[in-house]
């Protein structure tokens, strides 16, 4: 037995070669077996539906009769003659442009304070993270509606200093800002990512800078911010995409209407109304694809621009 094993390297190789296709076929089969649930989901629930919705976006479809091919009419209407689409774009972009920078500024500011080696860091971090964790709940939107209502918590507080506040929610000029405030309130999760990034920056870089006489603000602009750009980049991309997709707060605060007078008509809320209130499935599919293009363009621009401001050599 031992002899045959020892003097048979050549035949073993031949054996392995003969078996190689079979074992690799078996390995492949095992691999695909493990992957089977995902593959079914990918074809059945992701790729297939995405293609179908691309097709539907060129049709008129109300779920009852068969889809009717209308060519690019849906897209033409989106681009030229849909005031609701313009309103939704305006609201959504304003929301993204206001909420993302504010949220990230708070996240970075607090992360830097926490990174100073204070006692009680875990407690602070937990408190600041909590709103991010529960922020998507309907309950939080309900609470927000009360806080910013005419007789709500905010106005009660303002009354103490003698200011008579308006009803922030039902005023079209301020309604969107209450949603921005809700987004900024949830700065905890980007804060945690910033904090993890800040801890990667070696302490001796700051010590060297201090010896060279760099001021606090110089240290921030020349060391902290450049070394943090990969994390900043990640946070900007993730938070922006999330902001484009925001739905629940606008739905709850406006009672599903996007009101007052479309002031909180988020893009996804408009899409929901078209699809599930008016059953214009073709038009809603076109809206979905426009959203994909917007997000894709934004992501591509971020990645293209990243070579100019993101430092990966840190």
């Amino acid at each position: 037995m031992a002899d045959t094993l020892i003097d048979a390297p050549a035949s073993r190789q031949a054996l392995a070669a003969a078996h190689a296709p079979e074992t690799s076929w078996r390995e492949s089969a095992t691999g695909y077996l493990f992957l089977a649930p995902w593959l079914i989901g990918f074809f059945g629930l992701t790729l297939g539906p995405a293609l179908v919705s691309l097709y539907l976006s060129f049709t008129d479809y109300d779920l009852l009769s068969n889809p009717r091919w209308v060519g690019a009419a849906n897209y033409v209407r989106i681009a030229t003659s849909d005031p609701k689409f313009s309103a939704a774009m305006h609201v959504t972009f304003l929301y993204v442009v206001l909420s993302v920078p504010l949220k990230l500024a708070f996240a970075l500011l607090v992360a830097m304070m926490l990174n100073r080696g204070l006692r009680g860091l875990p407690l602070y971090r937990a408190i600041f993270y909590l709103p991010s964790l529960i922020g998507a709940s309907v309950a939080v939107s309900v609470l927000w509606r009360q806080v910013f209502a005419g007789d709500g918590l905010l106005n009660q507080a303002l009354k103490l200093v003698g200011i008579h506040g308006p009803s922030w929610i039902s005023n079209p000029d301020t309604a969107l800002y209450t949603l921005v405030a809700l987004a900024v309130w949830q700065f905890g999760s980007p804060m945690i990512i910033f904090l993890a990034g800040l801890r990667q920056i070696p302490k001796d870089v700051y010590e060297a800078a201090e010896i060279d006489g760099a001021s606090r603000s110089q240290q921030f602009w020349r060391i902290t911010l450049p070394l943090l750009t990969p994390v900043l980049f990640f946070n900007v991309v993730v938070q922006t995409i999330d902001a484009f997709k925001a739905f629940t707060p606008a739905f709850i605060i406006s009672g599903g209407t996007g009101g007052p007078i479309d002031a909180t008509l988020f893009y996804t809320l408009y899409l929901y109304q078209e699809a599930f209130a008016y059953f214009r499935m073709g038009y809603a599919s076109a809206l979905a694809w426009v959203l994909v293009v917007i997000i894709a363009v934004f992501t591509a621009l971020s990645f293209l621009s990243s070579r100019y401001w993101v430092h990966y050599d840190g």
């Binding site: 992957l35 204070l118 964790l133 709940s137 309950a139 007789d151 800040l198 700051y206 009672g255």
Partner: protein, 287 residues
């Protein structure tokens, strides 16, 4: 991208004591400002209705559970039913996600098969795809399968690893497990299934727990899915129940509304208290 830099060791303070005190004051004030609305909601849920308005205090003058009783059976279906529904949907989603995502992650991280890189790239691609493009055809599909008003449209996708994010999370973790362990098991005669079951899964408990907790929280919080697929109040989840309650009470019964809001947040607080570390490390690794 970012290593787990979340250990709690305290680096030597670079600031003087006075600075530290200043930071503590600022951070304490910020914490209070952030938590105030939540604490006020909690306090208000115990106040008699007449005390909620014009009373911004965090301590009810008169304790009362009346709002909870009113809210619990404020709709034709009680909140007990909503909680049960949410629990069923969330727990099934957890099981589905952990199973299907760990299977796929094992295939990507440990096995070798033809087309592996191709599928992995596609899987990463789905991370970027907004769910809105699959929404309408999925709805049509589930409508034709007669699954509307059942929990199946909310649960079945979880068993098919549609949340690619968790696959990615688990792939990263599985890759950090030393290969020598697989090889040792293989020498002992284990095939890939047994290696997956007795080597990889037990060593990945922290990652699996993170995936499980996030799945639970996100499913519990999900509003959009139930809104589309559940029309019958008997099948409502807590989020839908709460929304109906808002619509039916309007502004008339804030006490009951706050009481039920507090209850729907309760499971999230429990997770937060017990698994804070896993949650925070999870967020930090996502970077």
């Amino acid at each position: 991208m970012v290593d787990l830099g979340t250990s709690d060791e305290i680096s030597p303070p670079r600031d003087g004591r006075r600075h530290a005190l200043l930071y503590h004051v600022v951070l304490c004030l910020a914490s209070i400002a952030m938590l105030y609305p939540l604490l006020w909601m909690l306090a208000s849920s115990f106040k008699p209705d007449s005390d909620i308005f014009g009373d911004a205090s965090l301590w009810p003058r008169h304790f009362s559970l009346a709002a909870y009783w009113r809210g619990w059976s404020g709709l034709q279906v009680t909140f007990g039913k909503f909680f049960l529904n949410s629990l069923v949907v969330s727990l099934c989603s957890v099981v589905g996600n952990v199973m299907s995502c760990s299977l796929a992650a094992y295939a990507f991280a440990r096995l070798k098969f033809r087309g592996q890189k191709f599928w992995f790239a596609l899987m990463l691609g789905t991370l970027m795809l907004p769910y809105h493009v699959t929404l309408i055809p999925q709805y049509i599909l589930f409508l034709n399968l007669d699954w509307v008003d059942t929990f199946l449209p909310l649960i079945v996708p979880k068993f098919l690893a549609v949340d690619a994010f968790f696959i990615f999370l688990l792939v990263q973790f599985f890759r950090s497990i030393p290969r020598e362990l697989d090889e040792a098991a293989m020498i002992d005669g284990c095939g890939p299934w047994r290696i997956y079951w007795i080597v990889i899964l037990p060593l990945s408990i922290p990652a699996l727990a993170t995936a499980a907790i996030f799945t639970f929280i996100w499913t519990w919080d999900d509003f959009f899915g139930p809104l589309i697929y559940l029309n019958d109040m008997n099948s409502y989840t807590v989020q839908l129940g709460l929304r109906s309650f808002v619509d039916s009470t309007g502004k008339s019964d804030w006490g009951a509304l706050f009481a039920m809001s507090t209850l729907t947040l309760l499971p999230l607080f429990v997770f937060f208290l017990f698994f804070q570390r896993l949650l925070i490390d999870g967020i930090a690794t996502m970077g």
